[in-house]
């Protein structure tokens, strides 16, 4: 059964039509990667699911509820956790305040997040804006985990990070697969995505142009060249 089912959504920014009937699904405990070039519509897809930029047509079903008209806070409380593009840490808030802002009891606790990301414990009382890029990514991930959603949306978690830290992010994503989490991962970093994903979608110009497994995509030179710019 699908945890998240997106059915033919159309999303606009003002008058410009960005998503043209996009459908995808994420099964329970599955890690699904959404790939595509800059401007393909991946972030808009995430924004539509979490209610930041609601779709005008189509359906988004999360655990049996049609959420496409819900306000963002209700979608978050229903169990959809977001690590947004650019991390969007609350810079003036302390690390602890960032983590606890949306925390809901059940499963992930502050202690567990500190266990997974030891640097956050050391900097708990520091303002979020003073953290390094890698630490901010940990904070964004910790903040999302503490909302104790059952679905995690990750938008470019490796963006702007050093290779060593990207590898660390990969390790953490592997570890999260052991949890009861379903994950939708948007990535420019194709290698990271293929390493951790169970299934893959490729987007181009606001549409899904490919659906398969990491192995089948790896073998499809045509799709890789045309839509991902990978030789």
């Amino acid at each position: 059964m699908s945890v998240l089912q997106v059915d033919g959504i159309h999303t606009y920014y003002g008058e410009s039509h960005i998503l043209h009937g996009v459908s995808l699904r994420v099964g329970a405990g599955e890690m699904v990667a959404l790939l595509g070039r800059n401007g393909a519509g991946k972030t808009t897809m995430i924004r539509s699911i979490v209610g930041f930029t609601p779709s005008r047509e189509g359906r988004i079903v999360f655990e049996g509820d049609e959420i496409q008209r819900w306000p963002a806070y209700r979608i978050a409380r229903r169990g959809v956790a977001l690590v947004p593009q650019g991390r969007r840490i609350f810079a003036p808030l302390s690390v602890r305040e960032n983590l606890l802002l949306g925390a809901r009891a059940d499963g992930w606790t502050l202690e567990r997040v500190f266990g997974l990301f030891p640097p956050l414990r050391e900097r708990a009382e520091q303002a979020g804006g003073t953290l390094s890029g890698g630490e901010q990514q940990m904070l964004a991930l910790g903040r999302a985990l503490l909302t104790n959603g059952r679905m995690l949306l990750l938008d470019e978690p490796s963006e702007g990070l050093a290779p060593l830290i990207v590898r660390e992010i990969g390790r953490i994503l592997q570890a999260l697969k052991g949890e009861r989490l379903s994950v939708l991962l948007v990535e420019q970093n194709y290698h990271l995505a293929l390493r951790v994903a169970d299934r893959v979608y490729v987007m181009n110009k606001g549409q899904i142009v490919y659906e398969g497994t990491p192995a089948s995509l790896e073998a499809d030179e045509d799709v890789k060249r045309r839509y991902l710019g990978v030789a």
């Binding site: 979490v50 963002a72 806070y73 609350f90 606890l100 802002l101 949306g102 999302a144």
Partner: protein, 290 residues
């Protein structure tokens, strides 16, 4: 009149005026920072607070009760205004909001004229603070000292609320990034209404406290709006600390300007604002402009 008593007298006048500006501008700066709404009707909350206080005193004769009733009543009006009128405009252009809130200045002013008439009404200070005290040779109404102490206590209480509580963290997060605050599950619409109502209540409180110093008249709301907006610009958008420091600076600048440079008093606060904007466009404690 010698220099020292005159100086201290003016400084205390400036301080009490600054404290009133602070209570008014806190709401303005939080609303501005969080909702991106320039609420031009915010000065009206100050005026409505004074009249709500006047009405309470007329009925009960109790000034302290007025200090309680005015903010509650004006907070309620603020909540209604936000829910019914401003909410539908959040996704529209800022000009629409400016026009709407500008219109409310006249609406509230006429409403008050209609109920209480247009003449200036004085609000007597509470019995306990009706005298005056000597301070460095200056004679200072004891009510002004009460206003100063009360304002500084409020500043500390507000600081604790905003910086040290979970509710305060939600408000700071909302000022910084409202969309992402909703994204972690905070009902930001409710927070918007709450902050708007709270800001209105503080404005109303400021008005009732100002009553014994400045009297109540329908145009007082439009009159205080400009200095309050300047405080927000000087202090920095959405910053509590900026609101306090900006209020104290503008309070002194305007008071000393009136006393020492009466010919130039109107321009002094604008000069202060221009200097701050030239040196720090985001205001003294505002975050860097994007």
């Amino acid at each position: 009149m010698s220099f020292v008593p005159d100086f201290f007298g003016q400084a205390l006048n400036g301080l009490s005026y600054g404290v009133l500006l602070f209570l008014l501008s806190v709401g303005l700066t939080l609303i501005f920072g969080m909702l991106d709404v320039v609420n031009l009707a915010h000065g009206s909350f100050y005026m409505l607070g004074a009249y709500a206080g006047l009405a309470t005193i007329a009925v009960t004769g109790n000034y302290w009760l007025a200090m309680l009733v005015a903010p509650v009543a004006v907070g309620g009006i603020g909540a209604l205004l936000e829910r019914a009128c401003l909410r539908p405009l959040y996704r529209r252009s800022p000009l629409d909001q400016v026009l709407l809130t500008f219109g409310f200045i006249y609406l509230f002013e006429d409403l008050v004229k209609w109920i209480w008439g247009g003449r200036i009404r004085s609000i007597p200070p509470p019995e306990a603070f009706s005298g005056s005290v000597q301070f460095f040779g200056a004679t200072v109404p004891s009510y002004r000292l009460f206003v100063i102490v009360f304002g500084l206590v409020m500043a500390v209480a507000l600081w604790l609320l905003i910086e040290r509580t979970r509710l305060g963290a939600i408000i700071r997060a909302g000022v910084f990034d409202a969309e992402m605050t909703a994204g972690v599950g905070v009902n930001i619409d409710l927070v918007f209404t709450g902050v708007f109502a709270f800001g209105a209540a503080l404005g109303g409180l400021s008005g009732v406290i100002a009553g014994p110093i400045q009297s109540a008249s329908p145009p007082m709301g439009a009159g205080i709006l400009i200095p309050a907006l300047i405080v927000v610009v000087v202090g920095g958008l959405g910053s509590l600390k900026g609101s306090l420091v900006g209020s104290l600076i503008i309070g002194q600048a305007e008071t000393f300007g009136k006393a020492w440079l009466p010919g130039a008093s109107m321009v002094i606060i604008y000069v202060v604002m221009a200097l701050v904007v030239l040196l720090r466009p985001q205001g003294l404690f505002g975050r860097a402009l994007k």
